[in-house]
Amino acid sequence: MRTLKFLLQKEFRQIFRDPGILRIIFMMPAIQLLILPWAADYEVKNINLTLVDHDHSTYSQQLASKIAASGYFHLQNYSTTYKTALKDIELDRSDLILEIPASFEKTLVKEDEASLFMAVNAINGTKANLGGAYLRSIIQDYNREVRLKWIQFPRFNPELNIEVTSSNWFNPQMNYKYYMVPGILVILVTMVGSFLASLNIVKEKEIGTIEQINVSPVKKYQFILGKLIPFWCLGLIIMTIGLTIARLAYGIIPAGSLLTIYIFAAVYLLSILGIGLLISTYTATQQQAMLISFFMMMVFILLGGLYTSIDSMPDWAKAITRVNPVSYFIDVMRMVVLKGSGLADIKSHIFTVIGFAVVFNGWAILNYRKRS
């Protein structure tokens, strides 16, 4: 116990006497959490629309003003031909083209049917999908108005009609930041935890100070614990800073209890630090350690469900997400913060992550050799 105390004292001194690292530990998460959620706005809005109106009739103008009034589209460009409109898309000035054919109004009235042509830049799939759907529903709406003008429906609607009402729970304003901030906080805690832990032991190897520990009576587990505990504390501090920023800057107050979040974070940090330590036992230089942890973090983060939904991944990727601690924490954070899930709801998450912690740390202790 006394040995451990001295080791901890040494580690904390090492951290607190390096102002560069200290600044990174505390400033980086704060700044990122203040900036990134503003960038990570995946909401589909501001769709630029180019209108090619060959008709110039009352109807085409009505339709145009209806689209402009919807709020989803910026109707900034009017082109005379489809070709110039396509140029707009090529230069990224526009995402969608709506072409109204000549004598659109006349055909619609005389022949009961008329066509519009829509083309969308589909490089960004989400935008293409949602943008197209929005525009189609606006056109349908307009269609209904036209019909109402021409035929007087009887008061009792003869058509079958299934009315679909929809409600959005847990995030009724559909604020994308509520979704991203908890996820980004997880990433920050993970990055700081794993990078610092993996770099720390390797630095001792590179500088040569590990020799001094190897010739001391310090036990393996004491050494690993001595490395683990300081970063565990730092992780929890970052977590606290992050939650404070989420509350002050974004008004995100967890719907569930803070205790649930901290209990999970405590267990999760053990597993993430375990990965960091494991990497450091396998590498010889800081450069290697950094690259390997970067590589692993990248896979973990991308497959963690922060940006894209895990449900739509193929089976092999889903299998990876099951051994990915990051995906569990992102899931838990969103559940607790947005939906107010309690300990009982995240039971299986907790046990899985405890499992990870035991495996990774055990492996790291086994793999740490006091001989060189």
Partner: protein, 368 residues
């Protein structure tokens, strides 16, 4: 010249004799392309949903079967009471609940009007939106079918065409982004670290007492990583063409030329970082936070730039990857030529010269 080659050779030895680093540098792009190409899609499919059927009549069962048959939804659970809805959302796997009122069929047949309620877990607003849209479309379809498809008067049809990427593959927007990220990583991070490492280990002193010009020393550090990046560009392009079916619609020569330009800009940035820091850890963190995250976040590759608030949109202009990403997208997927991208090219070239000049100026020949 001979001296220069000797220095380049030394740098190559540094890289080749560190197997683990080599492996990661060359393996990373392949791994990323596979993950981005196959695992990450913005498409929403196989979403797990639950049904609360208070009617349990023929119509509701028909409609449920219809929903189950679509590729977008997997019905995971049947609920019994309304209070189950919140419970099931809290467990986290269910994204949408479809609620049928009691007397669904009766309402539909006698009053010609019935209600279906869709309750979405809107923690992720996009998924909620998309799922609601899909479910509504299925229900409207079902309704059209049972109304015998009587043709309505005054119908406006819309013809719809997806340009460039008709199958809506995620790879079309990810491949250019991955290229930017990998080049940034290899060039900026690795050059920054190698130079600082020589400082940390003390070997920088040896180089500085050699008769080489500082400019040549820096250049010899940059050449190997330039070559390494070109290998990575080649493997990314090969994989995306042959494994992901992403075409190269524009000129390959132009694409490679622009990649070299971007690589040089990244190298210059790496050099700049290395001349301003003294420890590897600081250099790493600066390149990670100063380069990688902005590259991922502000280049337009993951998140649309036009959604960002004005300050971030302004900042995104100084992120080199933003310009490169737009160039690659234009050349590779839209098949545009130099005439349409000269502006982006000029910006990149300007950044490169600026950073290079800055780092040359800051490079100290004397040890502090």
């Amino acid at each position: 010249m001979k001296q220069f080659l000797a220095f380049v050779k030394k740098e190559f030895y540094h890289i080749f004799r560190d197997k683990r680093t080599m492996f990661i540098l060359l393996g990373m792009p392949i791994m990323q392309i596979i993950i981005f190409g196959f695992a990450l899609t913005n498409e929403v499919k196989n979403s797990r949903i639950a049904i609360l059927d208070n009617a349990k009549d023929q119509s509701s069962i028909d409609l449920i079967n219809e929903i189950d048959a679509s590729q977008y939804f997997n019905i995971e659970e049947y609920l019994h009471t309304y209070s189950d809805v919140e419970k099931i959302f809290k467990k986290g796997t269910i994204k949408l609940v479809v609620v049928f009122p009691a007397n669904f069929q009766e309402d539909l047949q006698h009053f010609n009007k019935a209600q279906v309620q869709l309750i979405a877990d809107a923690s992720d607003p996009n998924v909620a939106n998309t799922l609601t849209n899909y479910a509504t479309a299925i229900i409207v379809n079902y309704q059209d079918r049972i109304t015998n498809q009587r043709k309505l008067p005054y119908t406006i049809n819309t013809e719809f065409r997806m340009l460039y990427n008709p199958q809506l593959k995620g790879a079309y927007s990810f491949v250019p982004g991955v290229m930017a990220m990998i080049l940034m990583l290899v060039c900026t991070l690795m050059t920054a670290i190698t130079i600082v490492r020589e400082k940390e280990m003390g070997t920088m002193e040896i180089m500085l007492v050699s008769p080489m010009q500082p400019f040549i020393i820096i250049l010899s550090k940059a050449v190997p990583y330039l070559l390494l990046s070109m290998i990575n560009v080649t493997s990314i392009l090969l994989l995306s063409v042959f494994a992901l079916d992403v075409p190269i619609n524009g000129s390959l020569l132009l694409l490679v030329g622009e990649s070299i330009l971007f690589t040089l800009a990244c190298l210059a940035f790496g050099l700049f970082i290395s001349t301003s820091t003294d420890s590897q850890q600081t250099a790493m963190f600066i390149s990670l936070t100063g380069m990688l995250l902005p590259t991922m976040m502000l280049s337009g590759f993951m998140f649309p730039i036009e959604n960002m608030p004005l300050p971030l949109r302004l900042i995104s202009n100084i992120v080199p990857a933003r310009w490169y990403y737009s160039i690659v997208k234009d050349v590779m997927i839209k098949g545009l030529g130099i005439r349409d991208i000269w502006k982006e090219t000029l910006v990149l070239a300007g950044m490169m010269f600026f950073l290079l000049a800055l780092s040359l100026k800051k490079f100290k020949i004397r040890l502090a």
